[in-house]
Structure formats: C-alpha cells, structure tokens
C-alpha cells in the first residue's frame, strides 16, 4: 500500500503540482508559483483541437473494439470447449508477445498505397469507395497509412485483446444457472441476452473500454508512424516536455486525459456498470 501510494500517487501529485506552475516566456525557466496560466493555454483553439481529435478517435476506436470483441468473447466464454477455449485465448494474446513497434510498422506497410490492403481492395474493384473515403477532409489522407482511418484501424487492432479479455472474464463469471433461470421464466434466448447477459457483462465492457480509451488517449507512437501529421495529446506532451522544455504545459496536458477518464468513470457508474460487482 505504501509502495503503491508513493510510486503511483506520488508521481501523479508531482505531475499535478507541476501543472500549476508556468514557464517564464523569456528565460524558459520554470517559475515555481501557483498559477492557472498554463491551464489557460490549454484553452487555445490549437490545443482544444488536439483534445477533441484525440478523444473522438479514442471513442470511435473503443466503440469499434466493443463491437468486434463482444461476439468473440461471447463465443470463447459460452460456446467453446475447454480445449478450444485455451487455443482461442492464446490466439487472442499472441499479438501481445511481439513488439508493439514492429506491429505498428507492419501495419504501415499493409496500409501503404502499394500495400497488400490496397491490392486486395483493387482486386475487389472497391478502389472507388476507398478513394471517396480518403477524400473526406477530416478522416482522409493521401493513403490509408497516412489517414486517421488507417490510424484508427491500427488502434482497433492493437488494443483488441485488452477489450476481449475483460469481456470474456465477465461473461465467464455469469453463472449458467442464471441463464437457465431466465429461460425457465419464459425468456427467449435474445431476451435472456438483453436482460441478463448484457447487464452482467457490462462491467467487463467498461473495464475493456477503460483500457482501449485511455491507451488511445495516451498513445503517441501510432499517430507518429501513421496518420496525418496532426498532433495527438501524447505527441503534444512528448514534444512539450522534450524539445520545448515546457514541463508545466506537458503536465497540464496530461491532466486532460485524467480528467476525461474520471468523467468517463463517473458516467459509467451512473449507468450502473459497477452495480453487480
């Protein structure tokens, strides 16, 4: 507990403290005085745009991950034999064994203009719709690899295991007798799914979405390698505390995702995500 509070909370508090400092514009030195000036800078249009872009991509990635992960997790938890289950779970986690950076660069090649995905889309004669998608101002780009669409695809892929595992665990914990009881009381399979399975696995969905959402919020490598050159929160933090030496601004920017996550958890609690825990 002590270790936890010193190492985890201690660093969080020092971050919080720094975010209330500011740097002297002239000398570049940190002035150790309480000020809200740094937070004021976050409200400039450029920073606001970074927050909105990052948060909306994180939200989209999370939603897509839930949609992909739920059926998979459901199959693993409720329909597969214990042998198959082991293999499927290994399959889900295998990508985590290889370097994250390698996988990101691999995706860059897959999504590149002459990459395998474009080749495949060409084969299906779908390059018309693809070009149309890429021509949309806010999500497009010169190729999939250099567009927010491509970036989102990679985010979805990279964080998918973090969504599958918690959902699968929560489904696993729903006792079979509850499903029997629901069906015994007249509920058809879909009604049982909606009234019993879904609410009871909701904590798993929330847990998974905390991973995918916060990991996307804080990531700075995928937006660096893929996508257009527009900044993510992570990249901004990286450049402010590195090249620019503006630690207070970087700290204040980091507080952004923290606040977003707190708001998110409060909403989740309000929706009853933690009632069954």
């Amino acid at each position: 507990m002590i270790y936890m509070s010193v190492v985890y909370l201690g660093s969080m508090f020092s971050l919080l403290a720094y975010s209330f400092y500011a740097i002297d514009d002239f000398t570049g030195m940190i002035i150790r005085e309480f000020t809200l000036k740094t937070y004021g800078q976050l409200l400039t249009p450029a920073h606001r745009e970074i927050f909105i872009r990052t948060a909306s991509i994180a939200a989209v990635v999370t939603v897509i991950d839930v949609i992909i992960a739920f059926p998979l997790a459901y199959y693993i938890a409720k329909f597969s034999s214990s042998r198959l289950k082991t293999w499927l779970l290994i399959g889900v986690t295998i990508p985590l064994w290889s370097s994250y950076l390698v996988r990101v660069y691999a995706w860059k090649l897959i999504l590149a203009k002459e990459g395998i995905l474009s080749w495949f889309i060409n084969l299906l004669h779908l390059n018309g719709p693809l070009d149309w998608l890429l021509s949309i101002e806010s999500i497009g780009g010169s190729s999939l690899a250099l567009s927010p669409i491509g970036m989102s695809i990679v985010f979805v892929y990279i964080w998918l295991p973090y969504m599958i595992i918690p959902i699968q665990t929560s489904l696993e914990r729903v006792p079979a007798s509850l499903l029997d009881a629901s069906s015994d009381l007249g509920a058809r399979p879909f009604q049982t799914f909606r009234n019993v399975i879904l609410p009871l696995s909701f904590p798993g969905v929330i847990a998974g979405s905390i991973f995918t959402f916060s990991l996307t919020l804080g990531d700075f490598i995928i937006p660096l390698v893929l996508g257009n050159s527009k900044f993510f929160i992570g990249q901004a933090v990286y450049s402010y505390q590195g090249t620019a030496g503006n630690v207070p601004l970087a700290a204040a920017m980091t507080m952004g995702p923290v606040v977003i996550m707190i708001v998110y958890l409060l909403i989740a609690r309000k929706l009853g995500a933690f009632d069954a825990i």
Binding site: P175, S183, D184, L185, A187, L200
Partner: protein, 345 residues
C-alpha cells in the same frame, strides 16, 4: 386422488445418457396433479437429471415426457409451463427483489401496475413484505430462498420444480422452511416436485417419494411405505438406518435365506431368557457398544450367530448411568414379525 385424471408429469421410458454413463435409465413415472412429490437419492442417482429434463434444460436421449398429457420432451424451457427454484437460487444479482420476482411477468408483457400488484401479493405469501427494493446480495440465505420461490410461483406454473432448495440453509431454518413449503404448496395447490438427498426432508414433506439409485427408481410410494416396508437393500439403507439380516440367521427366523430388514427402533432389548409371545421373533446377543444420545440410546449388539445389529431405545425412564452400564451384558432381542421387510437379493 383419482387415477383417472391426467397425471401432471408422465415419464414414458425416459433415458438420458452422457456418453457411456446412463444418468437416467429407462424411467417410467407418473406424478399426480396437485401432489408434493419427492425425488430422493444420493448424488449421481439421476434425480437432478430427471428434474432438468422436466424443466427443459436437458433433453431425453430416448423416451417422452408429458406435462398434463402434452409431449414436452423437445420443447425449450421458455415454452414449458413449469418453473424452477434452483439450488443456488439463481437470483439476478443486478435486479432488485421486486424486479426478480416480476421477471416472468415482465417477459410476458404484463403491465407495470399489474406486475407490482402481483409482486406485493407474492412478497406477502412468502412473508417478505417491504423487501422489494433490496438487492439479492442484501438478503440472508433463507430470504433469498423465499424470493426464488416467489419468483417461480408468480407465474402460476402447472408444476413447480425444486432442486435441493433447502440444502444451503442451516438446520433450524431448514426445518422451518420444510413446514412453510408444505403449507404454501397446500395453499396454492400446485404440483411440487422436490429433489433432495435428505431422507428426513423427503419423509417430512412428501405425499409420495421416488427413491433413485444409479439412474433408476428403486421404490415409489408414500413416506410411511418407503420407511416401513423398503423393497430393496438400497432403500432400507438409504432411508433411515436399517439392519439387514440374511443367510443362516434369516433361515432360522423366516425359513428362507432371503435378506430382510428391521428398523433399529422396532427392536426391543430384553434380558436373556425372556420368552415373548408367538408373534415376536427373538435372537440372543451381547451388547458390544452403547452410545448415549440424550433423546435415545444406540446399542450395538453382536448376535451369537455373528452379525451386528443396531438397536435404538428411547430414554424414557433410563439415565445415562443406566444405559452405559449395559455394555457387555447378554441380551435377548425381539421384534414383531410385521416389522420385517423382505428386501430381496
């Protein structure tokens, strides 16, 4: 009770095999309308599989199951007019007591006002008024049990299935619930099928009992019949304690080597040399052990012919000093001829 009315449940040569294992093996059974019927047996005897097949959670490998004359063998649980009280209660943890009880009505599309009226009636019936807003996790075992019962009964099922529902309760509460369950059954008039491994529970509540062993019904009858005249060694041993006597001794007493059983409490301890009347059977032996149990005393008597017999006598006049001093004494045991039951084999 008329045998001409349609039985609530009829098993027509029902089997359920899991691979090589015959969980239920060619069972034929009729359960009457409105009776409290118990399926009694050790774990793995097939009683729970029978219950699950009536509920629809499991399907027979062969044979048919009829619910008031309708073949329901292959209907899913949600199309059968039966409800179940589960061993672990299976209350929905994310719903309040009210919502749990109203679940079946909600699925049927009953209006909210009507639902809440019926839920209140049910809470009254199971003596939990005012508990509607609690979550199952805030209830004691006995209270959860009542909620589970209310959740099933609110749907007015044709048959109510109870899967060892009292197993998780402590002894006092269990005895109280036994009485209460029986009273509720008589009030609502629904056929109850009760699965248990507790012979006392089955004897207390049932109109009739089916004793299961290895996927088959060993004996079926009212509690007194099951207890007084067990027809197999298994039933004699499983329901209460029993002395099984066979071989030479049996031949001397009954004229045949066929095994019979005598309940320990039917045997009288007399002093050596007593000569009882002609309706009584008597054998000689030596008291090997005495266990004083307050209400009664258990004697282990070694017969001159070799086998041991358990005798139970109520401590009506005797004190612990009296009975414990009996150890090592020669005695003559006698019991009435009517209290012997042929168990075959």
């Amino acid at each position: 009770m008329t045998n001409t009315s349609t039985p609530a449940i009829r098993f027509d040569h029902v089997s359920r095999h899991f691979g090589e294992v015959k969980a239920v093996d060619n069972v034929a059974l009729e359960i009457r309308d409105g009776e409290f019927f118990s399926m009694l047996g050790p774990s793995g005897s097939g009683k729970t599989t029978c219950l699950r097949m009536i509920a629809g959670f499991d399907r027979p490998t062969s044979g048919q199951i009829f619910l008031y004359g309708w073949d329901v063998s292959n209907l899913p649980p949600y199309e059968r007019d039966v409800n179940t009280v589960f061993q672990d209660y299976a209350l929905f943890p994310h719903m309040t007591v009210d919502d749990n009880i109203a679940y079946g009505l909600m699925i049927k599309g009953v209006s909210k006002a009507e639902r809440s009226k019926q839920v209140d009636e049910m809470l009254e019936l199971v003596r939990l008024p005012g508990f509607g807003n609690r979550k199952p996790s805030q209830l004691s075992g006995g209270q959860r049990q009542r909620v589970a019962l209310a959740r099933a009964l609110i749907n007015h099922p044709k048959v109510l299935l109870l899967d060892e529902p009292l197993g998780a309760l402590d002894l006092k509460l269990r005895q109280q619930m036994q009485v209460e369950l029986k009273a509720i059954q008589q009030r609502v008039g629904i056929t109850f099928i009760f699965v248990t491994h507790d012979q006392e529970e089955a004897l207390t509540m049932s109109d009739r009992i089916a004793v299961f062993n290895e996927g088959k019904i060993e004996q079926l009858g009212p509690p007194s019949e099951i207890y007084e005249t067990p027809t197999s060694a298994f039933v004699a041993g499983f329901v209460g304690t029993s002395n099984l006597i066979g071989g030479e001794l049996a031949k001397r007493i009954t004229g045949s080597e066929q095994v019979f059983s005598v309940r320990p409490e039917k045997i009288h301890l007399g002093s050596a040399g007593d000569s009882p009347d002609s309706n009584m059977v008597s054998v000689d032996g030596l008291i090997r052990d005495v266990i004083y149990l307050g209400l009664y005393t258990r004697y282990l008597v070694q017969l001159d012919q070799g086998s041991d017999i358990v005798v139970i006598e109520q401590n009506l006049k005797t004190t612990s000093m009296d009975v414990l001093s009996a150890k090592g004494q020669k005695v003559r045991l006698h019991w009435h001829k009517d209290h012997m039951s042929r168990v075959g084999g």
